[in-house]
Symmetry: C2
Subunit: 193 residues, 2 copies
Amino acid sequence: MSMSLDGFIAGPNEGPGNGLGDGGHRLHEWFLTGADADHKAVSGRLGGINGQVVDEFMATGAVVAGRGTFEPAGGWGGDHHDGVPIFVLSRREPDSEIGKWPLVRYVSDVRTAMSEAKRAAGEKNVLVHGAGTAQLALDAGVLDELEIHLIPVLLGQGRRLFENLPADQIELERTRILEGEAGVTHLHYRVRR
Amino acid sequence: MSMSLDGFIAGPNEGPGNGLGDGGHRLHEWFLTGADADHKAVSGRLGGINGQVVDEFMATGAVVAGRGTFEPAGGWGGDHHDGVPIFVLSRREPDSEIGKWPLVRYVSDVRTAMSEAKRAAGEKNVLVHGAGTAQLALDAGVLDELEIHLIPVLLGQGRRLFENLPADQIELERTRILEGEAGVTHLHYRVRR
């Protein structure tokens, strides 16, 4: 997740047509610049440290995403990257064609989504997409690692990555710090259990 | 400021006798261990990268603190370090002896506090102490740099460093990242204006 130093992953006033909230695009500038439409356009050719990090998340073996991330993104055209399976966390069945695409499966609870995604990914990592899903996975004890792209900006207001978690202290192991281009710092932690 | 990865500088249920909130002491373990009572006890002898960072903030030429930080800390015995002046941000006059100590001055607005502290500090930096004061200084445009000691823990609940700021995007320049001991990462940014 790309997060501002003050903890936001989207600006205020999120909504249809303003998916990242006011000013939220600032958080994704480090890998989406100019004409690049999405993550697929930049994978493999960004270069540098930021490119290495993008290539890593594009080398994952499965994706778990909340419905609120998946559907506004148009389901990534049915393929997030390389034809890996996409598990969509949703309490309701899909109500449009998008949910019936071959790589997509709707799953109603985060434990099932994560365990099936891990099985599908085999030796590879699972990409967890969206703050709500990350929070649920963390709270359920099924999130193993955190990779945060810390953006050198304060948004002041918006949607936070870490919110609505119980007051349970969760210890982390710092596993890697990379100083990326454009002032972005990639923080990698393992969740201790 | 020492901040958990999820943005907290104190745990929940802060109050008299529980100044750092539940579990909040975890955030200060990196420099206060065992018998060390406060920052003065460790200065100059912690060593390593964490010691370097402590020594830096103990080499500042003035302190600006909120009354809510200063008074519960017992006014640091009248001397935060090295006899530098302490400017206490408060809308009210001091109502106890603590506010009348020689190094201490109560000031009612953050701009005055910061400009007088900068003048008193001369060539040295000013240490801004407390989240509320940092927020006010940031919002007033008189905070020049941010040094965050990022602690490898999630608290889930508590008091945030960044809260109640307006939705004004503030760009930062990343000036230094230090990987300290015990998984603490020291992030240094300059505020761009």
